[in-house]
Each structure stands twice: as C-alpha cells, then as structure tokens.
C-alpha cells in the first residue's frame, strides 16, 4: 500500500485526513492519499511567484531538455511515489484499477503524455507559432521579421483541477513548466497517478521540485486553486463550464460534443469512411471529449447507424487487463444506471431508433461498478434531444440533416471532422465559430495533431501580447 502525501512546493506533507483510493472491481484500497484543505492551498499560493523566479533561472531550452529526459523516465523507469516506488507497469495497473479504464488504454495515454513531453520544442513552436522562447522568458524581443514583440506572463503558475475519469487530458498542462511557470494541481480523486508520476519524473530529470504543488482534496481545494491562481484550468461537466463562462482567469474543459460531418458530395460513399467513424466513437472507451458523439449526414443515416451498430453493438465487457478490452467501467455507484435511464428516456422520442437494441442489454452491473455497452441512436432530425448528447462511453447519435443546415444545427463542437471536397462548404466550415478544432477530410476526431493548439491556445491564456517600445539598440535585445 502506497501512502501518497500532499506536495507543497516540492515538500511532502502528511495530512491528518487520508482517503483510500480503491480498486473499482474489488473495492480494495490501492493507495492512501493525504487530503489538503482549501486554506492550506490559499496560503501556499501566496508564494507562487517563487516558482517562476526559480524556473527563470533556467533557459527554456534547458528546461525542455530536462523535460525530454523526464519523458523517458515517466514512460520507462521506476520512480519514487510517496513512500514507495512505482514502475511503468504498476502505474498502468494502478491507474486502471482506480479509474476503470482498461490497462492497455492507460498505457496508450502514457505514451501520449510522454510524446508531448519528449517533443516539447515542437509543441511550443506550434503553440507560439514559431516564437523564440527567449522572448517569453525576457518578456520582449525581436521576431525574425525584425519587429519588437512583447509577451507578458500573466501568472507565475498554472492551477489545474484535474479529472478522475480521463487520463488523456494531461497533455494540456504538460507544457507549462517549459514556459517557466510552476504547477499547482489538484489530482482527480480516483486518478492521482499521472500528476504524481509526472512530478516525480520532472524532479528526477532535474526540474526543481519546489515549482510544483500537488493538492489532493475535496471541493474546497479545487475552489481555492481556482480562486487564488491568476490562471487555472478545470475539467468538468456542462454545469462547470456554465459556472466559469466568461471568467478570463479560468479555462474550462468539459464535454466536447465532437462530430463527424459527411458532405453531400461524399455521403453516397459512406462505407469508405466507416472505419473512421467507428474509431472516432469507440476508441479510448468513448471517454474523451474528442470521441465523436455525433455523426451528421444528409442521407443514408439509417444505413450508417446500422453499420456502426453492427461493428460496436456486440462489444462485450472484458477484464481491464485484457488487451482487447474496449469498455471502461463506471466506478461511481449508480452512475451506469443513471446514464442508461437518461438515454432510455431520449430513445423514446419519435424519430429516434436504438440501433444497438438487437445486440442485447446495454447495462452490465457488477458488484461495485457498472458498464454500458456501446449505444448507437439514429435521429431522423437534428431536433431530437439525443442529437445533442454526449456520454462517457461509446455513444453516438447518427443524425439526418441537410448539409445547408448542418453548421447551424450541430451546436458547439470541440473536434469537427468534415468529410467533403465541397470548397464552398469547406469555406463556411472554416468560418463557423462553433467548431473549435476543424479537420477537413477523413480524419478520426480522436487523432489530434499535437502541433496544433487544443481547446484554446495555452500561450494566449498564460501570456498577454502587448506593446513594447524601447530606445535601446535592437541588437541588444535580439
């Protein structure tokens, strides 16, 4: 049993409040995690400026080299964790045990994180659109085109309230240390693993531990991080998004409502894109905001829905260590039933057909958890309520909608993969502000190019582009 302490600017702190993180299937405690309290976080955040001071003593290039070393350590080595050690296999096993995600998916997410860490120079180059990192360090400098630019850091640290249910989201905060800012993280209650392992790998790779704080805890801890950090991100539901909408200090990540849109010009060849559609819905247990929850087409929708249902409807629940396991467990008591009830309600609506009905019962209840097998709903029109739903398992609505109404009716879409060669429609899609990441062509929604900003550019969030005039010799600051 590993005891995981709170980390206060690199220093372990054993709390008097300990929470067991339990195995979703057996109920056995996997780790004992110290719990912080909100006041402690608020107090510590008064010293946040020190984190940036420490990191500015390194060049960005130096930090990126250390982070690349951390990538290897994170992915391949046994690292200190609390009062014990953790190998990569133990990491995947523990993460699977407490989140319900199959082990092979945990390993895939691990590779994704280490890819981002290892390729930090390219990632930063993409995020900054080619800016010399020294300009971010100094606050100003001369771009290659000879113009003085200034990017002023808006915060010494990034605060983040991390989720329990999707270990894939961590790539969003990984570049922060390379930008010479500290990290103040509240790990998810069921998924403390990634934040601690990254912090451990960073420390082993020579990043000063005092630039990172980890505060497992309750809601008051999350509230304190959001209130006391000049910039923070939170992962949550639509309610969380609504709560922080318009707050420039908080970047909110919630449901993605990602979609595949088939154009008039290609829809008659829909079978060619079936693999893309199935992958987008099914991969990673359907848990990501980048999984497709909607497939919109002007015709053939019933055939498309039937074909997807034929592929993923028969998927059965397999043990989490089975390399073929495609479904993740709902580890919160009653969650699977609650989600199933919501879907059943929507499936009763006129014009909606449950295409996975022939493949048996969807809800699989175990003693301490539950699963939902994939659901494919066919909607005769975009007005059906289920057309705008997203759930944390392979769930998709296949919606019939004329192409000329599609952009208006799809609603917010984190990743939109539009399969079309219609130049006029491509132009309209490019102008659509309700689509965040736009893919043109048969690109699965889950295949992110990490050299593109995701869900709001981190640089825009952490830095402010401002005017900077100087009488000093240009050469001196170039």
């Amino acid at each position: 049993m590993i005891n995981i302490p709170v980390i206060r600017w690199g220093k372990p702190y054993e709390s008097l409040e300990i929470q067991d993180v339990r195995h979703f299937f057996t109920g056995d405690a996997v780790a004992k995690v110290s719990q912080a309290n909100g006041g402690l976080v608020t107090r510590d955040l008064r010293k946040a400026g020190k984190a940036r001071e420490v990191l500015r003593q390194f060049t960005c290039s130096d930090l990126m080299e250390r982070i690349a070393r951390a990538a290897d350590l994170y992915e391949n080595e046994t690292l200190p964790l609390g009062d014990g050690q953790q190998s990569p296999d133990e990491f995947a096993g523990q993460q699977s045990a407490t989140t319900g995600l199959p082990e092979h998916m945990c390993r895939a997410n691990m590779e994704k994180n280490s890819f981002v860490l290892r390729n930090m120079p390219k990632i930063l180059d993409a995020l900054t659109r080619g800016l010399d990192p020294e300009i971010l360090t100094r606050g100003y400098g001369i771009e290659s085109r000879g113009v003085v630019v200034s990017y002023q850091a808006q915060t010494p640290i990034l605060g983040a309230v991390l989720p329990s249910n999707s270990p894939g989201v961590h790539t969003l905060w990984l570049p922060v240390v390379a930008l010479q800012m500290g990290l103040v993280l509240k790990p998810g209650s069921q998924e403390p693993w990634t934040a601690y392992r990254v912090a451990s790998a960073f420390a082993e790779a020579g990043i000063p531990p005092e630039v990172i704080s980890l505060y497992p805890g309750g809601h008051d801890v999350g509230g304190a991080i959001l209130a006391a950090s000049p910039r923070s991100m939170i992962f949550g539901s639509q309610k969380t998004i609504d709560q922080y909408a318009g707050n420039p200090r908080v970047q909110v990540h919630g449901p993605g409502f990602s979609k595949i849109l088939l154009g008039d010009d290609v829809v008659d060849r829909w079978e060619e894109f079936l693999d893309v559609m199935v992958e987008s819905v099914y991969i990673n247990g359907g848990r990501s905001c980048i999984n497709a929850s909607g497939i919109w087409a002007p015709r053939h929708t019933r055939e498309i829905a039937a074909a997807i249902a034929e592929r993923i409807g028969p998927v059965e629940v397999l043990p989490p260590n089975d390399p073929q396991a495609g479904l993740a467990a709902f580890t919160v008591e009653g969650m699977g039933t609650a989600v199933k009830n919501m879907i059943d309600e929507d499936l009763k609506e006129a014009g909606v057909t449950d295409m996975t009905a022939p493949y048996g019962e969807r809800l699989v209840e175990k003693e301490l958890c539950s699963y939902l097998r994939p659901v494919v709903a066919h909607c005769e029109s975009p007005e059906c309520a289920v057309a705008q739903k997203e759930y944390m398992f392979p769930f998709v609505s296949v919606v019939e909608c004329p192409q000329d109404q599609m952009i208006r009716k799809i609603g917010y879409t984190l990743v939109g993969s539009a399969i079309t060669d219609d130049e006029s429609w491509i132009d309209q899609l490019g102008q659509a502000t309700n689509i965040d990441r736009l893919n043109i062509g048969a690109i699965p929604t889950n295949r992110l190019n990490w050299l593109q900003p995701h869900e709001g550019n981190l640089i825009d969030f952490l830095f402010r582009s401002r005017a900077y005039q100087t009488t000093r010799e240009m050469a001196a600051i170039a």
Binding site: L16, E17, N37, R43
Partner: protein, 373 residues
C-alpha cells in the same frame, strides 16, 4: 475500549444517576398539564405508554418514537412554549430556511444557561475576564449571535458583532455565484478587521472555521496577524471541524500551540436543538483529535448503530450521532443528527460519553451543503 479507571467509573455512575433523575423531572414537566407545551400534551394521547408513570430512567426515553425535526417547521410556534413559561419573554431561533419554511425553536433562557456553562470551560488566561469580544459568524434568526454576546457579557465584556446571513451564502453556492460569495466573504472580513484594529482591545473571538481562515489570511495581506491584533482566545464552531483543519489552523494560522503562539482555540459542536458541546482540549500529541461532550444532563449525545438508533455502539466504534435535549424549555427524546462519528469514553472533566470525528452522515453527505460560512 472500556472505561477501566475506577475513579472515572465512579464519576460516570454518579453522572448517570443524575441523568436518570433529571430525565424523570423533565418528562414530568413537559407532560404535566400545567407546565408542558401543547405539542407534547397533544402527543401524549398518541403514545402507547404513559410518560408520566413509565419513564423512570434515561433509557426509558427509547419508548418515544424518534424526534422528527420536520415537526419544528411552521406555526403556531406557541405550541412549543411550556405553559409554565407562558408569561416569560420568549425568543424564536431558526435553523435551515434557505428555501422553504425554517425549523423554529422557542427559547426563554436556555441559550444563556448553555453558554454560561460553556464559559466555565474557557481558560481565563486566554479568554480574560472583562475583555471584549468579536462575534464573526451567522446572525439574523440564529441563536449564535445572542448566545456569544451573552457569553461575552457574562464574562464582563462587550461584544462587537459582524452581520452574516448564511442563507444568502447557501444561495450563492447553489447558484454558482462564486464571485459574489468571495465578495460577501471579503465584505464580512473587512468589517472584522476594521473592528479588530479600531482600538477596542478585543481579546476574544468567535469565528467559524472558514471565516477564521479568511480573517487570518486577510490580516497577513495587511502585514499583520491575529496575534498582533491582541486576540488570545478563539471559540470556533458553527460548521464542520476536522483534525486536519485544526492542525492547519494551529500550525499555520495561530503560530503554534497556545504556549507558543499565544492563542488558544476551542472547537465546539452544537445546534439550535441541543445547545453547545465542548471539546476535550486538542493537542498535537493526540493527532488534533476532536472529541465533543454534551452539557449533560441538559443534553446528551450518543453514538448509535446505523441500523438501530436505540443501540449504542462500542467505544471507538462508528455510528450516527443521536441527540437528546432535556431542558424545561425544550424536550427532544432522541433525534438522529445528520452526522456520524466515533463513540468516546468518559473522562474526568466530562464523566459521560462523547463523540469524536464528527462528519456528515455518509448516506446524506451528497445532499447536504456543509461548511458554508
């Protein structure tokens, strides 16, 4: 764990005899035609036993059905006033009420008696007699403001009060208006700092844990501290109190234990129904464990089985907190609190059962908004 010290055992036996005698007296009072309140006189006919002849000891109270606090909602509030006190000035204190009709309790003198008893537990070194107090907590229809003010006056001081409306705080949280919540908290803290730094020689403070936290941080922001304002004694309560929070407060807000930091903090557990339970002194050596003891025989806390509210759990075992109030003004023969905890044995100061580790009852936890102010 059992009570093995013969001296404490003897004290506990005496306390139990006193509780039995007091129980009979209170039941006679509340079911006496000339003294009791209309609510219990009406209930008497519905009971399948005669409380006047069949309650001979504390355990006989188990013959009553559990008290339902829903009975306290709505009027006429006079039905709760004992006939013997019909001509006495009467307060009504409310609990809940963010939405819907609040629960009401009528009080004549109980809050004064409770807090005078509590006063005896405060060390004069840190809560000096004749010193002034600041009350930083819920006011309005709550008992707390008047009670703290009386405590202060009883000890010879004058009490300054900050107005705080917990119902508005709950509404702000439910609406998700966190900016407003922060602004309202700052509004209260600003007033507190103004009073504390205005030369009133305030040495004692009531504050809820969250407000105490905010007050200390705000004082730090202004380059000062609670010690520098002259405060030496803090009575805290009103919301959930955990050992971890207490440790954090002692180590990081108050400059260490009283002998080092110069400030003594005592946690309390109470509500409008029961009164005020005091804490056994908290120490680092004891893991900042907080054990509460009710002001027996006026009130009793028991830790009972989750499945059987008439079965007390063993010492150190976990169960639900059950309250019994036995004053001439109010009779509650067993009410299941929304809290759980561990049963604690008697000790010299309080030779009767206590409860430690008080936290929201796990089955109600998700539906309860705790620690809001």
């Amino acid at each position: 764990m059992t009570v093995t010290n013969p001296e404490i055992e003897s004290m506990a036996k005496q306390a139990k005899e006193e509780l039995d005698r007091h129980t009979v007296e209170i039941v006679q009072w509340h079911f006496g035609e000339d003294t009791g309140c209309q609510f219990w006189l009406d209930r008497k006919a519905e009971l399948d036993f005669d409380p006047l002849s069949e309650v001979q000891c504390y355990e006989d109270l188990r013959k009553f059905p559990l008290f339902e606090d829903e009975w306290l909602r709505g009027g006429p509030v006079e039905r709760w006033r004992p006939k013997a006190y019909a001509d006495r000035p009467t307060y009504v204190f409310e609990t809940g009420g963010t939405t819907g009709i609040p629960k009401s309790r009528v009080v004549v003198d109980d809050f004064r008696i409770d807090y005078e008893m509590f006063s005896d537990t405060l060390p004069d070194q840190y809560f000096p007699r004749n010193s002034n107090w600041l009350m930083l907590g819920p006011s309005g229809p709550r008992r707390l403001r008047l009670a703290v003010e009386h405590l202060c006056q009883f000890r010879g001081g004058i009490c300054f009060c900050i107005d705080l409306d917990p119902r508005w705080v709950v509404k702000l949280i439910k609406k998700g208006w966190m900016d407003h919540l922060e602004a309202y908290k700052n509004h209260c803290i600003d007033q507190a700092i103004t009073i504390l730094t205005a030369g009133h020689d305030i040495k004692c403070l009531f504050a809820t844990p969250k407000l105490l936290d905010s007050l200390c941080l705000a004082l730090e922001d202004r380059g000062t501290s609670l010690q520098e304002t002259g405060v030496t004694g803090i009575f805290s309560g009103g919301t959930e109190f955990t050992p971890q929070w207490t440790r954090y407060a002692v180590e990081e807000l108050l400059g260490g234990p009283p002998e080092e930091g110069g400030i003594y903090m005592t946690p309390t557990y109470g509500n409008t129904l029961m009164g005020l339970a005091c804490s056994k002194p908290i120490t680092a050596a004891d893991g900042y464990k907080i054990s509460y003891y009710a002001p027996q025989p006026r009130a009793v806390t028991e830790v009972v089985s989750f499945d059987d509210p008439n079965s007390v759990v063993g010492y150190g075992e976990t169960g639900r907190v059950k309250l019994t109030t036995l004053t001439k003004e109010f009779f509650v023969p067993g009410f299941l609190e929304r809290d759980e905890g561990e049963r604690e044995p008697p000790f010299e100061t309080y030779p009767w059962d206590g409860v430690s580790g008080v936290r929201p009852y796990h089955k109600l936890q998700s539906s309860t908004t705790v620690g809001v102010y």
